[in-house]
C-alpha cells in the first residue's frame, strides 16, 4: 500500500498532464497491475470535473471593474490619515486669521487684546472691548473655537481617539499573531 501512496502523486500529475513521457509510462504500467490505483484514477475522473469555476455574471464583473477604476483613477477619496496634512494646513490658516483679528483689535482700540489666544478662549474679553468692536470680537471667538478643537494634546482623549488607538493595537496584535502563530500552523497543515 505504501508503494501505491507514492504513485498517488504521480497519478494526480498524470491526470493534469503534468508528467513527462517516462513518468507517464510508469503510471500506466503501474495502473495496469494495480486495481486500487486504477480505481483511484476513476474516482478522480468522476469527481474532479464536477468542480467548476463559479463564473460571475456580467453585471457583477462590470460593477467590480467600475469599483477598481474608481479607486485607481480618482484617488481623491482619501482616508482620514491622508487628509491630515490638508487639515493641518487649514488649521494653520485659521490660526493666522485669528491672530490677524487680534491685531486688528489692537489697532482699533489702541489697547492690546488679552495676549495669548488661550486666554481669549478661556476668559471672555473685557467688556470695553465688546462694546467698542462687537463684530470683531464675535469673529475672533468663532475662530478660537476652531483652534480649541484642533489644538494638539487635549488632556483627555476623546472616545473616537480611544477607539482608533484600540483599533491600531488590534492591528498589531493581528500581525503578530499571523507571524508567530498562524504561519507555523498553516505550514503544519500543509506538510
Amino acid at each position: 500500500m505504501k508503494h501505491c501512496d507514492n504513485y498517488k502523486e504521480l497519478i494526480a500529475l498524470y491526470y493534469y498532464g503534468e508528467t513527462g513521457a517516462e513518468e507517464s509510462a510508469q503510471v500506466l504500467a503501474h495502473m495496469g497491475s494495480c486495481a486500487s490505483c486504477r480505481a483511484y484514477m476513476d474516482e478522480l475522473r468522476q469527481a474532479l470535473p464536477l468542480i467548476t469555476p463559479e463564473v460571475p455574471t456580467q453585471a457583477e464583473s462590470r460593477r467590480a471593474t467600475a469599483r477598481v477604476m474608481e479607486r485607481v483613477v480618482k484617488p481623491a477619496r482619501l482616508s482620514n490619515w491622508k487628509l491630515f496634512p490638508a487639515f493641518a494646513a487649514a488649521l494653520g490658516l485659521v490660526l493666522l486669521a485669528s491672530v490677524g483679528y487680534m491685531n486688528r483689535d489692537l489697532f482699533l482700540t489702541g489697547k492690546p487684546a488679552p495676549t495669548a489666544q488661550v486666554a481669549a478662549i478661556r476668559q471672555p474679553a473685557p467688556v470695553g472691548h465688546k462694546t467698542a468692536v462687537p463684530q470683531v470680537q464675535v469673529a475672533a471667538r468663532d475662530h478660537t473655537v476652531d483652534v480649541r478643537n484642533g489644538a494638539p494634546p487635549a488632556p483627555k482623549l476623546d472616545k473616537a481617539q480611544k477607539d482608533m488607538e484600540l483599533a491600531q493595537n488590534m492591528d498589531v496584535l493581528t500581525d503578530l499573531d499571523v507571524l508567530e502563530d498562524l504561519d507555523t500552523l498553516d505550514e503544519m497543515e500543509n506538510l
Binding site: K8, E9, A12, L13, Y15, Y16, E18, Y40, E43, L44, Q46, A47, L48, L50, I51, T52, P53, E54, V55, P56, E60, S61, A64, T65, R67, V68, M69, R71, V72, V73, M170, L173, T174, D177, V178, L182, D183, D186, E189, N190
Partner: protein, 201 residues
C-alpha cells in the same frame, strides 16, 4: 499573449488608465471566480480582487510584459487571497462568537452555479447537485495554500512551474499540495457515495 494585449500592457505601463481599465475588464470574470472559490464569499472576493488590482496598478512599472497580464496578476491575486484567509482566521480566533451564523447568511455558490446535468432525470439532477455540494464543501475545507494550488491548476490550467512562481514556493511543494488536494477531494466523493449507499440500504 495577443498583440492587442501587448499594446494594452505597454500603454498601461506608460500610465494610460483606459488601457489599464481594459485589462481589468478582460481579466475580471476569472479573477472574481478564483477569489470567490478561495474566500468562499462573494463579498470578500470583491474586496480581495479590488485590493489586488489596486496593488497591480501601483506596481505596473515593475511589470516587464514578458508574460500575459493575467499570469503576472495571479501572483498578486493569489497572495491577496491567502492574506485574506490568514486575517480572517485570526479574526475568527479573536472574535470567535462573531460569525456563528455565517453559513446561513451566505448565498451558496454551488446552488447558484449553472447545472451541467440540466435535462437529465430529476433524481440524477438532485444527486449531481448534492455531490457537487459535497465536493465544494471539501474544497472549502482544504488548507488555503492547497486550495490555491488546486484552483490554479484545475480551473486556470497554470503549469506547475507557473504556480510555483505565483505562490513563491518550490515546484516540489506545488506537486505535493496538488496531490493532497486531489486526494482529499476524491475521499470526500467516496465518503459521499458511501453515505448514500448506507442510507439506501
Amino acid at each position: 499573449m495577443t498583440p492587442d494585449e501587448r499594446d494594452l500592457i505597454a500603454a498601461a505601463v506608460a500610465g494610460d488608465e483606459t488601457a489599464f481599465g481594459e485589462l481589468v475588464k478582460r481579466s475580471m470574470p476569472r479573477a472574481l471566480a478564483f477569489a470567490r472559490q478561495m474566500t468562499g464569499s462573494q463579498e470578500d472576493a470583491e474586496d480581495v480582487v479590488q485590493e489586488a488590482y489596486v496593488k497591480a496598478y501601483r506596481s505596473l512599472s515593475g511589470f516587464r510584459g514578458d508574460s500575459g497580464f493575467y499570469t503576472w496578476f495571479y501572483r498578486l491575486l493569489a497572495n491577496a487571497c491567502l492574506d485574506h484567509l490568514r486575517k480572517a482566521a485570526v479574526m475568527n480566533k479573536l472574535l470567535f462568537f462573531r460569525r456563528e451564523n455565517k453559513d446561513e447568511d451566505e448565498r451558496d455558490p454551488v446552488e447558484d452555479a449553472p447545472d451541467p446535468n440540466a435535462g437529465s432525470s430529476p433524481e440524477a439532477l438532485v444527486m449531481g447537485k448534492e455531490l457537487k455540494k459535497a465536493l465544494n464543501r471539501a474544497l472549502m475545507a482544504l488548507p488555503g495554500r492547497q486550495r490555491a494550488v488546486f484552483l490554479l491548476k484545475h480551473n486556470e490550467g497554470l503549469k506547475i512551474s507557473e504556480i510555483a512562481l505565483a505562490l513563491g514556493i518550490s515546484e516540489g511543494a506545488v506537486k505535493s499540495h496538488l496531490s493532497r488536494a486531489v486526494a482529499s477531494l476524491s475521499t470526500s466523493m467516496k465518503d459521499y457515495r458511501g453515505g448514500r449507499n448506507e442510507a439506501l440500504r
